[in-house]
Symmetry: C2
Subunit: 219 residues, 2 copies
């Protein structure tokens, strides 16, 4: 039986979401090792990868359950007892056998939270404190990323991808409870792309961002 699993996690103390040979300290490294303790030997397929230190509020995955795990309410309960406090199973739901968490995802959404003023030791895992935020400039310039671009200059070096072209379908800035939230929606993102785009929005002007998007000048 194929099930869709929705996870939320605080990524602070993990080395990214994807399973790695070198370390077990990744979201899916831990998740799969706990599944295997329950007799579920499966590679979890996730909608996308998150980088080191990145959190997820709604990461969609799928696995095929062995026949002895029919009680998905109980499975959710047991998983949440066994998982570290920083990883939480929000939902497990039966889906059709051709559901695919990665290929069926129509878009991925990232939110990057920044805030003016003194840093707060209780928020530092979720919020980047920045001085002198020009919210109007950021709201305008974030639109430069819209559409299809070669994001080669917005990718961490050493990434191994077939193409650095991505299509960003929605970007905007909004305020919520004193935070400034930068919203990005795309078919997919390159490694560190969000962080590098936010860095550009904070430090560069429109002309410099356009130069980078047209691969003219890497700053």
């Amino acid at each position: 039986m194929r099930v869709k699993i929705v996870l939320a996690y605080d990524g602070t103390s993990f080395l990214g979401s994807q399973k790695q040979k070198e370390t077990s300290n990744t979201i899916f490294g831990i998740f799969e090792s706990i599944l295997s303790q329950l007799g579920i030997q499966q590679n979890v397929v996730a909608s996308g990868r998150t980088d080191k230190g990145v959190h997820a509020s709604y990461q969609v995955c799928h696995i095929d359950l062995p026949p002895f795990w029919m009680d998905i309410k109980k499975l959710q309960y047991v998983l949440n007892k066994m998982l570290p406090q920083s990883i939480f199973v929000k939902k497990i739901q039966k889906v059709s056998s051709d559901f695919h968490a990665r290929y069926d995802a129509t878009s991925r959404v990232y939110r990057y939270i920044i805030k003016e003023g003194q840093r707060d030791p209780f928020l530092n895992r979720f919020v980047t404190f920045v001085d002198g935020i020009d919210i109007q400039k950021i709201s305008q310039n974030i639109k430069l990323f819209m559409g299809e671009h070669d994001f080669a200059y917005f990718m961490k070096n050493g990434s191994d991808v077939k193409s650095t072209i991505r299509v960003i379908s929605k970007t905007f800035v909004y305020q919520h409870k004193g935070n400034i939230i930068l919203y990005f929606e795309a078919n997919g993102f390159l490694r560190s792309q969000i962080r590098l785009m936010v860095g550009a929005l904070l430090q560069l002007n429109a002309f410099e961002i356009q130069q980078q998007l047209s691969l003219e000048k890497k700053i």
Copy 2:
């Protein structure tokens, strides 16, 4: 020049506040090592100790600054640049040379936050998720701790203290943004006392708590 320093910290990844010989991973172990990098070789005197995993929103301390550190605004700025993100200097303020963070403290306040329902991976460092909270019972029973008691049964074993008698001057329960907050104010607390009192409030009835406070029966 003596200064009062107010710290806030997320205690999650530290082994308590107090400096230890065995590890440098404590709040004041780290704080003093950074002070010493700035030429300030001082034992920081704090108003009180916090246990492993306990946070502080307003920990008052004092030190005596050497004459070359007169610019306390700059000192605060430099400290906040050097400290880990989880420790923050809220305030540095000149005080009279007889000010003492520990002896001049008239009371210490702790808040313990509990919440009904599914655990939240983004709040687990600050909130304990509990099912079936009887807020009325807790509001009544928290008053049992008021006044002077021998809290020997509300102390972690192996603690080395002269007396286990403490005077609790204020306790109450209130709700804030969906959280239930247990408030305790006292002249001082024993090691793990707050955690053990909260455990008692969640699991015991009034009679059982009174038994423990009168040292009749340890549960």
